[in-house]
């Protein structure tokens, strides 16, 4: 896509309604056999191609090449790649020091239509962030993977970029994910994060205008 916005294309003249042609009954159709054989030919050709030729093991079904048409993905051995941006299982994004970025603002719990997020806030005594999630639990059975929590997070603290989905279990309580299981993935920092602004205390250490070099992983939300 070029940056310059293209002018909106010219609208062609509206097309009148038109009906598809319906053809009358033909003898081959009435005679059963020819059309049945033609149908049989379709499935037979698939059969022979799939029987005699080997399958391209490319996990992307669309791009499998060759006469074999099998589109099965043999799951545990072949994993169909999730496209980038696919809404997978949640993760809590860590800060560089390993704690979650989350400040327990409850935005995700508020917007969650399934009310599957449970948060209990705690207070850091010294940290400029002040607030952290003492408990952050997601009931993955309730989660409907709508992605609104990611959109609602004002701290880039929850993402759905793990590319996996929730593992099945045999009992319900184990499917409630706490911080210990949710906190994973690379740490992320933004230049506006609080810990950049309050290195010292009194003399102002920041502002939005001051350029702070971007850190690895920044700005890829």
């Amino acid at each position: 896509m070029s940056d310059a916005p293209k002018p909106p294309p010219k609208a062609p003249a509206p097309v009148a309604y038109k009906a598809p042609e319906l053809r009358p009954e033909t003898l081959p159709e009435r005679a059963f056999v020819p059309e049945l054989l033609r149908g049989l030919a379709v499935s037979t050709s698939h059969f022979l191609r799939n029987l005699l030729f080997s399958r391209d093991p490319s996990p992307d079904v669309l791009h499998r090449r060759g006469p074999n048409l099998v589109s099965t993905v043999q799951y545990p051995e072949e994993v169909a790649p999730y496209p980038p941006g696919y809404r997978g299982m949640h993760r809590l994004v860590p800060r560089p020091d390993g704690n979650p970025r989350c400040v327990a603002c409850y935005m995700c719990a508020t917007i969650c239509p399934a009310q599957c997020i449970y948060i209990e806030a705690g207070e850091y005594p010294q940290d400029p962030i002040e607030k952290f999630p003492r408990r952050f639990e997601i009931d993955e059975l309730r989660c409907i993977v709508c992605g609104l929590c990611v959109e609602a997070c004002p701290k880039d603290a929850i993402r759905m970029d793990t590319g996996t989905h929730c593992k099945p279990t045999y009992d319900r309580p184990t499917i409630v994910y706490g911080i210990d299981r949710l906190l994973k993935g690379p740490a992320v920092s933004h230049r506006t994060d609080v810990w950049f602004k309050r290195e010292g205390s009194d003399p102002p250490a920041d502002g939005h205008g001051h350029p702070i070099p971007p850190l690895p992983g920044e700005g890829k939300s």
Partner: protein, 408 residues
């Protein structure tokens, strides 16, 4: 009911000539039945195998869509709309957001309109493939079903690329769409469409001229144009009766007036015509998609008005203004002006109408869905009474009832 009487008098007079006592057989198709999509119970009275009376009973899948929506913010309604017609979620998303935007009086950016059309038409093809495949499956043609499902899978892969989810997309937002198309998406979509077209033509070869299929679908489930309109049919089911009504043509929305496409119209209003409508509409949708892929402009995909749209993430992370707007939208929802509108789009099965009432707050005061499936389902008894039990199946398939949408 003449069939139910026991003609005792005649029996006494002449036991051989008297009509034997008989009763109609009453059976329940559903709520759990292989051919009842969703969970619908059809209460059927049979005389032999001829249907004497039919009474569809719904509600097994009723999830209180309207009540749920009245108690969440406008944004939170979106995941609920996915689950109306879960086969073509984007069409529902688009319809809902168009309704809210109409009430807000805002217009979305050009590129967002095109992307909405692209997503919607992909899902329209998915929906039609589902219907065609299900019809083949329930008539016994398993292979055609799996070709349809294979094609649908390929399209859903593209939907997953586009929206981040295969089925429940939650893709649109008030004022635009959630994310721009990924890099190289249009190329892959073109490849997919080619492959889908191949599979579609194979289904065509397997079914369309097959005598068994023709026998099963021609002349069954017939409804006349007058009756169809009277029953509130819209979409392919109405067009199969010969009424050329399509919201995309009659009241063009988004950018549908810029595309060259035709509206297939049937003649008889039977199951075969409804099937043929779907097959033809898939071709037309592919045509629309290819045009949209050529015409799509660049630019923003969502409005820049913080009253309706969450601010861009850097603003949220770094400025109090962005953060406040973000918080207000999340906490209280988009403040939609007071008023009421009815917005309508052409969904896969007909006119999808949204009657939205706002009291000026962050939650809908009333959100009514005019699901295209409900009137069509209400016309089902009219179409099948007098035909055979086996005809119920293709008829039920050809109206493509989606439980989530009908029962809300």
């Amino acid at each position: 009911m003449p069939n139910e009487r026991m003609d005792v008098e005649a029996l006494r007079e002449d036991p051989l000539e008297a009509e034997l006592p008989r009763r109609n057989m009453v059976i329940n198709l559903g709520p759990s039945h292989p051919a009842m999509h969703g969970t619908v119970r059809t209460h059927i009275e049979l005389d032999g195998e001829t249907i004497v009376k039919a009474d569809p009973e719904i509600g097994f899948l009723h999830r209180g869509f309207e009540k749920s929506c009245e108690n969440v913010t406008w944004t939170q309604c979106l995941p609920y709309t996915d689950r109306l017609n879960y086969v073509s979620a984007i069409l529902n998303n688009v319809g809902f957001t168009l309704a809210v935007e109409k009430l807000c009086g805002i217009d979305v950016p050009e590129r967002a309109k095109y992307i909405r059309v692209i997503g919607g038409e992909i899902h329209r093809i998915c929906d039609h493939l589902t219907m065609v495949g299900a019809m083949a499956l329930e008539l016994g043609g398993f292979t055609a079903f799996l070709y349809a499902i294979e094609a649908r899978e390929l399209l859903w892969d593209r939907v997953a690329e586009q929206t981040g989810a295969r089925l429940t997309t939650t893709y649109t937002r008030i004022g635009g769409i959630e994310r721009d198309l990924p890099d190289g998406f249009l190329g892959r979509l073109a490849d997919t469409l080619t492959r889908v077209a191949e599979l579609r033509e194979e289904i065509d070869r397997l079914l369309t001229r097959n005598r068994i299929f023709l026998d099963r679908t021609r002349g069954t489930g017939v409804i006349s144009a007058e009756d169809a309109v009277d029953y509130g049919f819209t979409g392919p089911c109405l067009r199969a009766c010969g009424v050329p009504y399509d919201v995309r043509k009659a009241h063009p929305y988004l950018v549908y007036d810029r595309f060259d496409f035709a509206i297939p119209v049937g003649e008889r209003g039977d199951n075969f015509d409804r099937y043929a409508m779907r097959m033809e509409e898939m071709r037309q949708s592919e045509k629309i998609l290819r045009q949209a892929m050529e015409q799509i402009p660049s630019g923003p995909v969502i409005l820049d008005d913080w009253r309706y749209v969450m601010p861009p993430k850097p603003e949220v992370y770094g400025s109090i203004e962005g953060l406040i707007a973000h918080f207000k939208i999340v906490m209280e929802g988009v403040q939609v002006p007071k008023g009421e509108v009815y917005a309508y789009t052409e969904a896969a099965n007909g006119e999808l109408g949204w009657y939205v009432v706002s009291d000026g707050g962050g939650r809908p005061y009333k959100l009514h869905v005019r699901s295209p499936g409900l009137p069509i389902l209400s016309g089902l008894p009219h179409m099948i009474v007098g035909s055979m039990l086996a005809d119920l199946i293709p008829t039920f398939d050809s109206i493509n009832m989606i439980g989530g949408e009908v029962e809300q």
